[in-house]
């Protein structure tokens, strides 16, 4: 047991504790987090205020458990989404595995030590969602004269158990994912394609029942039906009364979170029963995870770092073709991306998930309100996802010490950097194209909305890739032995995504305002206003990025060491 605790302590420390070269770097790190907290704090507080109203209304309408169930499920979905690749990287691609298996430790101990580390890492989402939602719910219920003991009692177990459950599901899914990747070890593209298809199938399996069961409520029905007369302003209470019971009914379909929500809201012995049922599911998943881990974890992990012999690509070494410098650089970039399974899967996920999410979430929202809400959601998703393009985020770092070799070659750094932006952009452009296709299938959208969505996001995609490449160029991590090392602990990936919230939320908010406030105008006129707004936001973003990345590329390249 001492060895297990020593290992867990060490893994937590090495994964979660940031290390700094000097005091300046530490201050910069803290400063970045404070700035992010301030930037995101305001929308976060607004969201909590809205949740307060939502909880109060749902309690009055008798659907609090359903609403809480949806909230808890969303929290798990966040953990799942952000945790899946974190889990695979820490559990299987971590370079310490080879070292750990030589120590006198059971493989199950290594599995659980890593699991606890990942859990602590991912608990951030439940800390930011479950606890505040529970506290807000308690306050909201108190204003109705009902002091909710159930929520208070279950708040901390829920904060812990919801992410445990999500990570256990990831753990179980990771076994087939890793099996697929290992089966196609010598063909990373095929492996990535099958892995992406598998994960997308999981998302479809999650969203399809929701979409099929989501009630169809038209936006105009809310304005006219709830207020009585068309054109009159609609109060939030009236909107909740018209929408909540039917929308909240989705919460019942998330059986596990519904059990938890019921344990918080029903009271008495029944509450205890619901709590036990929820805990029972977690225990069953944990037992299943342990069993499979005992059987498969070591085998899969060792398979990852085993030398895999000659790859299919190496057999083509005999081909000799001459290419221009530009083509050669682009070819080299594509080749390095396509040969890394992990990088390819991450990029593939970011390419395929946005259209899937946009289609299902947009479809759900289009059913309940109107197409502009779907468009607003699509805008936020596409901006967040194109900002998470690992190919550009690690544009220089993924070259490793090859970047130092490139310094000795008679090539302009501008050409290298341009080829990196271009290749990152190609992946993002495919994302934008597929998302536009998915978006056009939401229903109720017009050609102007589709066109505006595509053009503005293409501009955004170029800008964000340029931003990511320049950011990495300023501070690349080129000394690694295994590319997974830099993919795993990559703080840089968070910055562009957080920054994407600014244009994303701007476009999202303005689009929703058009869709809800300007309902009396012709939809093409609103579409034209949307195009103008989103193009302005993307262009301003491009200009800001250009300003940021104006530094001397040659000089920055020279500084790499």
């Amino acid at each position: 047991m001492t060895a297990f605790f020593a290992l867990t302590k060490q893994l937590i420390k090495s994964t979660l504790k940031p290390s700094f070269k000097d005091e300046k770097e530490k201050k910069k790190y803290i400063g970045t987090y404070i700035a992010l907290a301030v930037c995101l704090g305001i929308p976060y507080i607004i969201m909590l205020v809205n949740i307060f109203g939502l909880v109060k209304a749902s309690a009055e309408l008798g659907c609090l458990a359903e609403v809480l169930s949806i909230g808890f499920f969303m929290s798990q979905l966040l953990t799942f989404f952000f945790g899946l690749f974190k889990y695979i990287n820490i559990m299987y691609f971590s370079k310490d595995n080879e070292f750990l298996f030589t120590l006198p430790l059971k493989s199950v101990s290594i599995f659980w030590a890593k699991f606890i580390t990942i859990l602590l890492y991912e608990m951030i989402f439940s800390l930011l969602t479950v606890i505040p939602v529970c506290i807000v719910s308690i306050i909201a219920m108190a204003t109705l004269g009902d002091f909710s003991v159930g929520i208070l009692l279950m708040m901390l177990p829920a904060t812990l158990l919801l992410p445990i459950m999500a990570i256990l599901v990831i753990a179980l899914l990771s076994f087939p994912i890793m099996k697929i990747m290992q089966f196609f070890k010598n063909r990373p593209i095929l492996g990535a394609v099958f892995t992406v298809i598998f994960v997308v199938a999981i998302y479809v399996a999650i969203y399809l029942p929701i979409v099929l069961n989501s009630p169809g409520v038209d936006g105009s029905e809310i304005t006219s039906g709830a207020a009585g007369n068309a054109g009159e302003s609609v109060s939030m209470a009236e909107m909740y009364a018209a929408l909540l019971p039917s929308v909240a009914s989705i919460g019942k379909y998330f059986y596990h979170t519904y059990l938890l929500a019921m344990s918080m809201t029903v009271g008495g012995v029944k509450a205890f029963g619901y709590a036990m049922a929820f805990i029972g599911i977690v225990v069953i998943l944990a037992a299943l995870g342990t069993l499979i881990a005992m059987w498969q974890f070591k085998r899969i992990s060792q398979g990852v770092y085993e030398n895999n012999g000659a790859t299919a690509a190496s057999k083509k070494q005999g081909e000799v073709k001459q290419a221009s410098l530009k083509k050669a650089l682009i070819k080299k970039e594509f080749s390095s991306v396509l040969k890394s399974s992990n990088l390819l899967i991450q990029s593939g996920m970011m390419m395929i998930l946005p259209p899937v999410l946009i289609f299902f979430l947009g479809k759900m929202q289009a059913n309940t309100t109107n197409s502009f809400v779907g468009l607003a959601i699509a805008e936020l998703i596409i901006k967040l996802m194109t900002s998470s393009n690992t190919i550009s985020i690690l544009a220089v770092s993924r070259d490793g010490e090859g970047a130092l070799m490139a310094k000795t070659m008679p090539i302009s750094a501008n050409q290298i950097v341009w080829s990196k932006i271009f290749v990152g952009f190609v992946f993002s452009a495919i994302t934008v194209f597929l998302s536009t296709v998915a978006f056009s299938f939401i229903g109720g959208v017009n050609v102007l909305q589709v066109l505006g969505f595509f053009i503005s996001n293409i501009v955004y995609a170029w800008s964000v890739n340029r931003f990511c490449v320049y950011r990495d160029l300023k501070k690349p991590r080129v000394h690694w032995k295994n590319i997974e090392e830099i993919i795993k602990n990559n703080f840089s990936s968070v910055i562009p995504m957080f920054l994407a919230f600014i244009p994303g939320l701007l476009v999202m908010a303005s689009t929703m305002v058009y869709g809800i406030v300007l309902t009396s105008l012709n939809s093409y006129v609103v579409g034209a206003i949307y195009i103008a707004t989103t193009l302005v936001v993307s262009s301003v973003y491009y200009l800001i990025v250009r300003g940021f990345s104006k530094g001397n590329v040659e000089e920055l390249w020279d500084r790499i060491e």
Binding site: T2, A3, K13, S19, G303, A310
Partner: protein
Amino acid sequence: MLKATREVFMSEILTITNLSKKYKGNDRYSVKDLSFQVKEGELFAFLGPNGAGKSTTIKCITGALPYSEGNIKICGNDLHDRPIEAKKNIGYVPDNHFTYDTMTGGEYINFMADIYGVGVNDRKTRADKYVELFGLTDAIGKPIGSYSHGMKQKICVIGALIHNPKLWILDEPLTGLDPQSAYNLKVLMKEHCKEGNSVLFSSHIIEVVERLCDRLAIIDKGSLIISGSMDEIRAKNEDNSLEEFFLSVTQGDALIGDESEEFKF
């Protein structure tokens, strides 16, 4: 005669029987039907050209890699059946010198001591001795990420010796060490054997093997070419140096036609 009698009574610390290892997705065996023993108090060298299968064998012995055929026994414990008991007897210094970069040197040593269940007094005595020997006193409180290649290797050596293992395994141990540290390490390897423990190390530097080891095994293309004491190998080798013998048995691909004659040292 006395030496031969002593060898008979020396117990086997490591016994490898018919070990074969094939990497996934590879038709060729990386290690094929390999058998040898390392006895108590023995400094055993594992010699072979690049890609011969030395590191693969060592990784199989330490449990880093699975193997499908054959047996590995460490101090009588079969690595498949009793992996924890077997690994408790090993101290391993890998060729990649893996450590956790965010840890300080001191934290790493303590971590390794915790894993192997070393008592406070023992860990302090051993850590002080080795830290001083390798000149890491000033660096011990600094993160390993700031260490040089050689310093990382030294901290790995200390981590591997903190539980005074019966079998100390080193993969290419002298690469990247300064002359003083290389000398210290060689002395330490000898001392470890004198205390009744054993050392198994891989190398492709023939001079080091020749001077240091009691017995050696030469491996090429995954198969054992020859194993025995230096005297036995010299006897089979007639007048040639170990280097010439090594190059002849491994069909040295570095020989450059007839010109190689001019480079006899």
